[in-house]
Amino acid sequence: MDLTWSDTDEAFRAEARAWLEANVPRPGLPSGDTREGFARHLEWERLLFENRWAVVSWPTELGGRGASLWQWLIFEEEYYRAGAPQRVTQNGIFLLAPTIFEFGTPEQQQQILPRMAAAEDLWCQGWSEPGAGSDLAGITSRADRIDGGWVLSGQKIWTTRGAFCTHLFGLFRSDAESTRHKGLSYFLVPLDAPGVTVRGFGRLDGDEGFAEVFLDGVEVGDDAVLGGVGQGWSVAMATTGSERGLTLRSPGRFSAIVDRLVDLARAASQPDPLLMDRVVQGWMDAEAYRLSTLQAVTALAGGARPGPESSLNKIWWSEMDIRLHETALALQGDAAETDDAWMRGFEFSLSGPIYAGTNEIQRNIAAERLLGLPRG
């Protein structure tokens, strides 16, 4: 065991820290889940890309730095420590990109990844449907074979920032006779194609961060299928591993929230011992997540694949995120109702146990696949 960083990693950290300190916008940007804020975030994403900070772990020829997983963790730590903007590109670069690296043809990789890194194409996730949430295998959106391609029809919902994105990745039933996990294919769909209608709607905080996507006879080519016809479920599961695991919610994000929480607590005029205890518990939970991630990344660096323990990961960070924000609101007393960053953060944290498969489903997965309990 060696919990020290190498000189190369420390140098990488220093470079990231210096660049972020000089470039992170002050004051911060308006919410990236509004039309105006999204545009401002795109400028920021392009600045990141021009300086090769947008996708640090990607190969240099695709605009990255070929950074190791360790350096990716370091970058995330520095990114959130610096108070840098939310990543409006995250569903592309963190969820879709790993799947394209693994399953995409060389042509797909060449066509999609550089434009994604440069924030020229903006990807949203088209998985949930009105009748298929946590039960993703229940989707009914269809892909019907035509000469040289497919016709897509159906409805996707809860699509994050769908109203501002240019492309959608999602699951469609490519075998009309199939049910459940079989007969699904993973499609890549331009949202400006004829037959696509996108309607944005408000999240809990009122921002237009959600969309419904209606597909009515949308024609796409054969190259719109990622990872083989009928392989959609296993291709999609590769992405959920990333989403529940560390690529979506790196420890640095929560360490930064805890730092702000500790500052808030230190400034309290009448420190309440019980609240202080909750602040410490928040610090501990974030620290436990950081150490657990170091352990997990060591295993991944040694060739392990992300497994069902990613379900426990998702429960941990999502429920911790809520507690951190609840504690901050409690510290604010009657000022908690102000629609400020803590309240916004609190509202956002409440989505954590719901998206990417509810925490109830994650608990089932952990119990069945990690502990071997029988399916009910």
């Binding site: 060696d2 919990l3 501990m284 060591t298 309990l373 009910g376």
Partner: protein, 330 residues
């Protein structure tokens, strides 16, 4: 950066687990419940010494193998998993390193290493005149509040512990003793490792039980309410474990008074105490009435958790210590 164990550490862990399975299994644990100072309960002590476990962290000059806290933590987690009713923590993980650091003022190390001497420790964070100690009958040395006493320097009065394998006594120091340093950080770290092992064992036993136990025509482990108890317990234990290994690494690298080490130890102990208590609650609830009888062996693990979770600082005590480090103790 490498957050993992080397092959030697894992091999030793597995060897200790195999030994405990063979020499300190359930039958021995039940004998310890009936007679905690009896020869049968203590049969494994000499075997552990032959394997070098008591001397893991002792200097080579004293017959030890000078290994680090990471290795010790892996071994203690196995001792916790087996609910070992012997003072391995006290002798090997507290007594040995404290005495070694203090220059072995009583010349005791070689006999701790070879298993001929037994040392016990009062697990209070501020032990007063009437500290409690486990393994009281067979111990020849008593570490109370940073001072080491010979048996003829203390008075002992038996006290019934909820866990009868503890062989608990109230100890009153009569003689002068010698100063050897505070046992709190070593004790908290070692106990945290044991609690991780105890928690894992509780989950494992409960998983086996709920797969087997049928109600309404199906295994009760197929019910989501049961699954969620066990998923939560597993999560808490498995997020405490890395904090324990990290604190062990820091303890070896910087020593108990090193920069940030106390904070890391407190993190490990507070997480492990709470996690093990949650695992114990989940285990009992998922066993139903079967867990609520001392005719069934689950209670031995539950009660050990209840003893160790508050030892060397409760979770709250350690959170308060972290709070002081964070500047929240105004």
């Amino acid at each position: 950066m490498y957050f993992g164990f080397d092959d030697d550490q894992l091999a030793l862990r597995d060897a200790v687990a195999a030994l405990l399975d063979k020499k300190a299994g359930l039958a021995v644990l039940q004998q310890a419940w009936a007679d905690p100072a009896g020869d049968q309960a203590w049969a494994a002590w000499a075997d552990l010494a032959r394997m070098g476990v008591q001397g893991l962290m002792a200097p080579e000059a004293a017959g030890g193998s000078a290994m680090d806290w990471v290795t010790m933590s892996l071994v203690l987690a196995e001792a916790g998993s087996a609910a070992l009713p012997l003072p391995l923590l006290e002798t090997a993980a507290i007594g040995v390193p404290l005495l070694a650091a203090a220059g072995d003022p009583a010349g005791l190390l070689p006999s701790l290493v070879d298993g001929s001497a037994v040392l016990t420790v009062a697990p209070g964070v501020e032990p007063g005149a009437d500290a409690l100690v486990p393994a009281s009958t067979r111990s020849g040395w008593f570490l109370v509040g940073g001072r080491l006493y010979r048996r003829d320097e203390v008075e002992l009065e038996p006290v019934q512990s909820v866990d009868r394998t503890r062989d608990l006594a109230r100890v009153v120091a009569k003689g002068g003793g010698v100063a050897v340093g505070s046992p709190v950080d070593h004790g908290a770290l070692g106990t945290a490792a044991m609690l991780v092992g105890l928690g894992r064992a509780l989950v494992r036993m409960t998983v086996d039980y709920v797969k087997d136990r049928k109600q309404f025509g199906v295994a009760v482990g197929s019910f989501q309410a049961v699954k969620h108890h066990l998923a939560d317990a597993t999560m808490r234990i498995e997020f405490a474990a890395p904090a324990v290994w990290a604190a062990a690494w820091e303890m070896s690298r910087r020593g108990p008074t090193g920069d940030g080490v106390a904070r890391s130890v407190s993190l490990a102990k507070a997480l492990a105490s709470d996690a093990a208590e949650q695992a114990a609650r989940a285990a009992l609830q998922c066993h139903g009435a079967m867990g609520y009888t001392d005719d069934y062996h689950l209670h031995l693990w539950l009660k050990r958790v209840w003893c160790l979770a508050p030892s060397y600082g409760t979770a709250r005590w350690h959170r308060r210590r972290i709070g002081a480090h964070l500047g929240l103790d105004r």
